[in-house]
Amino acid sequence: MKREKVIQVADLTKRFGDFAAVDAISFDVYRGEIFGFLGANGAGKTTAMKMLIGISNPTSGQAQVAGFDVFTHAEDIKKNIGYMSQKFALYDDLTVRENIRFFGGIYGLSRGRIKEKSDALIEELGLQGAAHKLVGALPLGWKQKLSFSVALIHDPKIVFLDEPTGGVDPITRRQFWEMIYKAAHQGTTVFVTTHYMDEAEYCDRVSIMVNGKIEALDSPKLLKEQFQAANMNDVFLKLARG
């Protein structure tokens, strides 16, 4: 049986003047997959991701996300995706519960559903004691886990994570990946960018971007065979150095 494609990208390009930040990339992502989107700083990962989540207009090419075209139906895409940016983007001056309620509210969840979700989420993250604390007072690791959970609050088909584990300790990173696995297991597609090559090993498939182009795309195992490398780190170095 052919698996369902939830992201289809063909020749997607973004130019800023003469510079092609994203240069005709093409790939597909399947339902329930953990798709690693790798690349050095400035390779164009974030730009590509912003086009897929509908906050940046592509210059040319085609892309469908959750069955909707990024050019014409960006707002429909937004109902079906979750997003967690590099920058922590919950409100520091609202409490944990208030943040959950706000984002639940603007995704159109009912009052009862928000209550239910909040309780489950706080329980799951072990934040019972901190539910009425301002988010700004939480440690970074907790903040990251909370924003991931908030990104999933409306049960999106796809969740986009932009370097979600930047700056957090190894234990929290591990817990974070457990959360990612759990979401994927429940059928959510996970699209994740990262700098950590050990994290790349956790992905089902990985693409590596160099200077705006996708230079390699396959499962970590096959990529290591293809580049005759012991680990993903070596694969990355071979590609990134050309």
Binding site: E75, S85, F88, Y91, D93, G105
Partner: protein
């Protein structure tokens, strides 16, 4: 609609949780209202007055006493010579010097006319003009009294010599400066606070990155903008209310017109200001930039509003520019309704222009707000 309520709820929480902002929103403006209304006055008083008495006669002393008795002048000193008087004016010790020539009394009685020299420090031209009027009034008053005296001595027939004008000051009978200023300064406060808060609010979300998070949600542009601006609209109306209470209780400014009319106008006016604020925040990336642009416009709007200087005395081109100044309309309406008791039909021109302005600004603001870059 529900979405808008969630945003409004969030905004109010953030505003009232910010302990640094609350006093800025509510306490500082009212302090300003009280301080500025008392201090910002164009009444020229406490004029430092000096004189050179070359005559030392009963008449010259009587003239100086007239100045001393006036509440406008503070008789500072008499100078033995013009040289000393000029030096004192250079040092800023006197603003007005009256020069009474020698033989003033004798020549006045003999020739029936005399000249007096008056020197006025005219660095502030407007104040100098007013001082000149005061000086002239006092000398004329003195002159009339003197004439009657002289005529009684020389001429038994008292003639009606002068035409007297009896001015009536309408709408502000006592020429109380505060009555004039309080409505205007109230306008400034409502404008500045709502402009700055709305201008900075969305830029702040840009800066901390939460705006991007909002843009990834299916929220609609108008929902977001209404939800964002409504709290500041409420704050603006609240400021007007507190300001009016202060105007009545502390300054006893008459409120002749209808309060609902004032509220109706203000509710539309604040939409203009919020639209401008939002428009600014769409074109700036940091709160600092937004602040500078908001300041630039505020200063121009205030100085060209007719609040401090009458629009009628501005050059023609400047008068045309003031047509685009929302503060001008607000100042006019507040003064008309509060002091003249103007009704709906009287302020209709201002009201309709403001409404048009609000539609245009908010249209531009919504149009220029982009969820997608």
């Amino acid at each position: 609609m529900k979405t808008i309520l969630y945003i409004i709820q969030k905004e109010f929480k953030q505003i009232f949780r910010n302990k640094g902002m609350l006093p800025i929103i509510f306490v500082l403006p009212l302090l300003q209202l009280i301080i500025l209304s008392n201090a910002a006055t164009f009444e020229v008083q406490h004029i430092k007055f000096g004189y050179i008495d070359g005559d030392h006669s009963a008449t010259s002393r009587a003239l100086v006493e007239k100045f001393d008795a006036s509440s406008y002048f503070e008789v500072w000193t008499d100078f033995p010579s013009e040289v000393q008087a000029s030096a004192a004016m250079l040092r800023g010790e006197v603003d007005v010097v009256l020069n009474i020539p020698p033989y003033f009394e004798r020549d006045l009685q003999k020739d029936k006319h005399q000249s007096l020299g008056v020197t006025i420090n005219a660095i502030d031209g407007a104040a100098a003009g007013v001082e000149n009027v005061y000086v002239t009034q006092i000398i004329q008053g003195f002159n009339q009294g003197l004439r009657v005296d002289l005529q009684q001595i020389t001429d038994q027939q008292v003639q009606a010599m002068a035409i007297e004008t009896i001015p009536l000051f309408w709408y502000n009978e006592t020429l109380n400066y505060k009555t004039f200023m309080v409505p205007g300064i109230l306008v400034l406060l409502v404008t500045m606070i709502t402009l700055f808060l709305s201008g900075m609010n969305i830029v702040r979300e840009k800066e901390i990155g939460t705006l991007e998070q909002i843009n990834v949600t299916p929220i609609k542009k108008r929902q977001f903008i209404i939800g964002k601006l409504f709290p500041f609209w409420v704050i603006g109306m609240g400021l007007l209310t507190i300001g009016l209470i202060i105007a009545k209780l502390i300054f006893d400014v008459p409120i002749l017109g209808s309060l609902p009319l004032m509220y109706l106008y203000t509710s539309i006016y604040i939409l203009v200001v919020l639209g401008i604020g939002l428009f600014i925040s769409n074109f700036t990336d940091t709160q600092q930039q937004a602040m500078f642009i908001a300041w630039f416009f505020t200063v121009i709007f205030i100085l060209m509003s007719g609040l401090f200087t009458p629009i009628e005395s501005m050059p023609k081109w400047a008068q045309v520019l003031t047509e685009f100044n929302p503060i001008k309309y607000f100042v006019e309406v507040m003064r008309m309704v509060m002091l003249k008791g103007s009704g709906f039909m009287d302020i209709l021109p201002q009201l309709s222009k403001t409404l048009l302005y609000a539609l245009i600004m908010n249209g531009l603001a919504v149009w220029s707000y982009r969820k997608t870059s």
